[in-house]
């Protein structure tokens, strides 16, 4: 059974009634057991809603999302590596492989570079900026590490195939662009911790890529 107050119980529960209506409703609740019981149930509904737990989808949606936005999911990356590299040594170092290859690619596209990768794409105008790595950062130790790895990679670059080279070239360009953009933004806002963290992560990514690339090139030579 409903009375004139039944439809106001949610507003009362949410504290949205004015003082006069609130007082009137409370007076009614003191004498109407049915409204009192309904109010208690509404309270339980609100509490139940607030206690709901989030549940993930039954199927992993990431592969479809990754495909849509043009990034490669982890399982897909693993599968591709198994197809692209059949040498047991490379299979064992699966993650390093793509990174290694890309670093060599960069070396091959440097101005004046020699080697068997004539079919490699012409480097973008910004590509030579990779040579400026040592000058881009105030950290001399970092710059020295990068330079050492670049030299090691150059020595072994002839051991890597052109497809691998192209991948490395692309990855290095992406990382270098991210580094330049972060540095540029930091020049305008040096105290921005968010940008500093971003720059540090990109620098680490570049160092790791070169390290793995140089290791693989050395292992193959």
């Amino acid at each position: 059974m409903k009375d004139q107050w039944t439809d106001r119980l949610s507003e009362y529960l949410d504290g949205e009634l004015g003082a006069a209506e609130r007082a009137a409703l409370e007076g009614h609740l003191a004498t109407c057991a049915e409204c009192g019981a309904t109010l208690a149930e509404l309270r339980r509904v609100v509490a139940r809603a607030g206690a709901l737990h989030d549940r993930p989808p039954t199927a992993d949606l990431w592969p479809a999302i990754a495909q849509h936005i043009g990034v490669v999911s982890l399982p897909a990356r693993r599968a591709r590596r198994r197809i692209a590299f059949t040498v047991p040594q490379l299979a064992a170092a699966s993650v390093a492989l793509a990174l290694v290859s890309s670093a060599t690619a960069w070396l091959l596209i440097r101005p004046g570079a020699r080697g068997p990768v004539a079919e490699a794409p012409t480097p973008a105008p910004s590509a030579p900026a990779t040579l400026a790595t040592a000058a881009m950062y105030p950290d001399k130790r970092y710059a020295a590490q990068v330079a050492d790895l670049e030299r090691a990679l150059e020595r072994g670059r002839g051991q890597l195939d052109t497809t691998t080279v192209r991948v490395i070239e692309k990855n290095l360009r992406i990382i270098n662009r991210a580094i330049r953009e972060a540095q540029s933004a930091l020049a305008a806002d040096p105290a921005n911790s968010y940008l500093n963290l971003h720059l540090a992560q990109e620098m680490r990514r570049k160092l790791e890529l070169l390290r793995q690339a140089a290791a693989l090139a050395g292992a193959r030579s």
């Binding site: 439809d7 139940r48 809603a49 709901l52 989030d54 999302i65 936005i69 992406i174 968010y194 971003h198």
Partner: protein, 198 residues
């Protein structure tokens, strides 16, 4: 704190706590958002895995299970495309949640699911079967009962009682008046009380 996404009400309350509930923490997620904005797919995958349960649950409750996977994918694709607009003024989860609401409401309009959604009559309550004393309906859980509410009542209920939006905000989002939002909420609660565990 305020953040505005076109088509989504400006929020005045701090909802970051709820966002962090499903996330890994502000600094790590902010860093991942920056990496993802620069094209790092792995960073975005980490964000996806941290938030997919909350976003999927929101979509499922708002639109029903049939649409949930598709719309959730759409939310994350749009988030990827809009990462450059994330300013780290709020938690990434808060930003993502608001974006998700925007996508849901746009999709709801596209699908025409709004037909009859603001039926303000008591008939709406009849859509949700009442709980008998015994029988198969006992197995209908609370969330399934929510799914049987009329669209309008369900959306208001989810936005208000689960997501914490105010009637003013809900009215703005759904293009209704506050009184309708309050009425829909009350109808939803009245229907759902029959599915409470006893």
């Amino acid at each position: 704190m305020e953040l505005t996404i076109p088509g989504v009400a400006t929020l005045h309350r701090d909802r970051d706590q709820a966002a962090r509930r499903s996330g890994r923490g502000g600094d790590a997620e902010t860093a991942d958002a920056a990496l993802a904005a620069a094209g790092d797919g792995r960073a975005f995958e980490r964000l996806y895995r941290a938030h997919v349960a909350r976003i999927h649950s929101l979509v499922r409750r708002m639109m029903g299970p049939d649409q949930a996977d598709d719309v959730t994918q759409d939310v994350f694709v749009r988030a990827w495309n809009k990462l450059a607009t994330f300013r780290a003024e709020a938690a990434f989860g808060t930003w993502l949640h608001r974006l998700a609401v925007n996508v849901i409401l746009a999709r709801r309009t596209t699908l025409g699911t709004e037909r009859g959604r603001y039926d303000d009559s008591e008939d709406a309550l009849e859509v949700v079967p009442s709980r008998p004393g015994a029988g198969v309906e006992l197995s209908v859980d609370f969330e399934q009962a929510m799914g049987r509410l009329p669209d309008g009542a369900r959306q208001v209920f989810v936005l208000h009682d689960i997501e914490g939006y105010r009637h003013e905000e809900i009215a703005d989002m759904l293009g209704i008046v506050e009184g309708t939002s309050k009425s829909q909420l009350h109808h939803a609660r009245m229907a759902l009380r029959r599915h409470l565990e006893r």
